[in-house]
């Protein structure tokens, strides 16, 4: 809760409950600043931007704690990390005083092409070695924690040598990085690939979780698409409560990137998430 420092099993104080800073709310969100505990900046929306975006970013940094979240780092790609991107990211971290920065366990570019989407990495020893080395390289750009998010994915490659939870646990330990746990992604993946989301949560290195993402999705029947375009469904809120029961208080952010609603709807959804209490057992 605002004004009270809560620390979970990660040992890092929770920032409370936040939202992503999205353009449709730039004119109005500051008037309700006290309803938001922290703000997440989508790195690519502000990296290298001048004009209005830069002004809004500076105002946000003067109003709330900031965390950065990217989609273009491409930590799993076999192509080299983009040095210009990393330099810009480091500048943005400094300019905003970001508490941490994050991206996804994926590759979003390769062979000179940007996909602007998150393609899964295989859960193999080779991929693990590759990602660990690149995380260590990324960690040198700033003196704040770097977190990797468990992404949603729609295909499972043949030849996996370990499960996703084992991959993430080993990655966090070897690279000494944090985990951004997207609870909606766990739910989406569990439905799409047929596993128990609660057992998956139990298998994660929960002491590495510095931030949680909550979001909505689009259930097409035969597959669930992680759209960030709707309110959270009750099973995701239940899974969040179960997760909090194990992690203790963790900075929790509502992502709503498509079909962005009015600020009133967004903040009402944030209150719905804020009202979730930790539980000790699955429902």
């Amino acid at each position: 809760m605002p004004g009270r420092v809560e620390v979970g099993m990660s040992g890092v104080a929770s920032l409370g409950h936040g939202v992503g800073l999205r353009r449709p709310h730039w004119d109005t969100i500051f008037a309700e600043a006290d309803r938001v505990d922290f703000v997440e900046i989508l790195t690519e929306n502000f990296l290298g931007e001048g004009g209005r975006a830069r002004r809004v970013l500076e105002q946000a940094a003067a109003t709330w704690p900031i965390v950065l979240h990217g989609t273009a780092l491409s930590i799993g790609s076999v192509s080299p990390l983009d040095a210009d991107y990393l330099a810009g990211l480091a500048d943005l971290i400094r300019a905003t005083g970001a508490r941490w920065f994050s991206d996804h366990l994926c590759f979003s570019s390769a062979f000179g092409v940007e996909y602007h989407d998150l393609l899964p990495v295989p859960f193999t020893a080779e991929a693990l070695d590759h990602v660990v080395a690149r995380v260590k390289q990324v960690q040198t750009i700033a003196n704040v924690p770097f977190l990797l998010e468990n992404p949603s994915y729609y295909v499972q490659y043949a030849g996996a040598e370990m499960g996703e939870a084992e991959f993430l646990s080993t990655l966090c330990a070897r690279a000494d990085c944090g985990l951004l746990l997207d609870v909606n992604n766990v739910y989406v993946n569990s439905r799409n690939h047929g596993y128990d989301p609660y057992a998956f949560i139990d298998a994660l290195p929960l002491d590495r979780v510095l931030q949680i993402h909550m979001a909505g999705h689009d259930d097409l029947g035969d597959v669930i698409i992680d759209t960030h375009g709707a309110a959270c469904v009750d099973p995701v809120l239940d899974l969040y409560a179960y997760t909090l029961g194990r992690t203790g208080p963790v900075s929790t952010l509502l992502e709503w990137d498509n079909a962005i609603p009015s600020q009133a709807v967004l903040l009402a959804e944030l209150e719905r998430i804020r009202a979730v209490r930790p539980v000790g057992a699955r429902p």
Binding site: R54, V78, A110, F111, G112, V113, E114, H116, L119
Partner: protein, 253 residues
């Protein structure tokens, strides 16, 4: 389904082939041992991102070319663009950056007109001006006599043989303006970021504004400019005041 293990680069090359549409999805899916319908999701999403970038950044141009109705002509053009100009920058908006040049190469074939190219170039200029990270120096909001003057560092002066500024302004107002069919007299368009709002803006240049811009660019005093142009000093000051009010010229604090 194959269970053959691929190394990381081979796997990413397979995925690259699939999402870029360089090979049938079911062929790549079999090679990777993944579900073809699921793999196709990525192909659709990645294509959608580029389409969205085009329609967001070059909204008027793509609308004229039939994007809203998904006409066969638009679909052919889009397929060629996706194949010829894959995104190479992490900023999604940049996925539209090659489109003006792409259109220019298709004028001869009749897939686009010179006006489409000009309109795309104007819309792209607005995007680049909006992203321009240049910080404006401290300045007054209005013309102050005696204050040093500087050109707005985000200003671009562009020229086309079509009335693109008037067209885009009318299009943005939802007026459905007529599309010029043939080139005419050259028109200069001023594209810049307004200091007050931080938002990009454009309009056709006028002789008075061009005079003010040249005067500031050349560092002329009001007296020198008045003498050189044969205008009274009051007229020169009025032109400068208008340029400052519009944000084209900055009266430095």
């Amino acid at each position: 389904m194959t269970t053959e293990r691929t190394d990381l680069e081979a796997l990413q090359r397979h995925m690259h082939t699939a999402v870029k549409g360089l090979a049938p999805v079911h062929v790549v899916a079999a090679a990777l041992g993944v579900d073809a319908k699921r793999l196709a999701i990525y192909h659709r999403m990645i294509r959608h991102h580029v389409v969205a970038a085009l329609q967001t950044r070059l909204g008027a141009t793509t609308a004229l070319l039939g994007a809203g109705e998904e006409t066969p002509a638009w679909e052919r053009l889009l397929a060629a663009y996706l194949a010829d100009c894959p995104p190479s920058h992490w900023a999604l908006g940049h996925a539209a950056g090659a489109f003006p040049g792409f259109l220019a190469e298709r004028v001869e074939a009749g897939d686009a007109t010179g006006f489409h190219v000009a309109l795309a170039e104007l819309e792209w200029a607005l995007y680049t001006v909006n992203r321009d990270a240049t910080r404006l120096p401290p300045h007054h909001r209005a013309y102050v006599e005696g204050a040093p003057l500087a050109l707005n560092p985000t200003l671009q002066i562009l020229e086309w043989p079509y009335p693109v500024a008037a067209f885009l302004a009318a299009f943005n107002r939802g007026e459905g303006p007529a599309v010029p069919t043939a080139p005419g007299d050259p028109e200069l368009v001023l594209v810049f970021r307004r200091p007050a709002s931080g938002n990009p803006y454009f309009h056709a240049a006028t002789p008075a504004l061009l005079f003010a811009l040249k005067m500031v660019h050349d560092g002329l005093t009001v007296a020198d400019a008045a003498a050189a142009s044969g205008q009274p000093a009051e007229a020169v000051q009025a032109a400068l005041a208008d340029a400052v009010q519009q944000g084209l010229v900055l009266a430095l604090a």
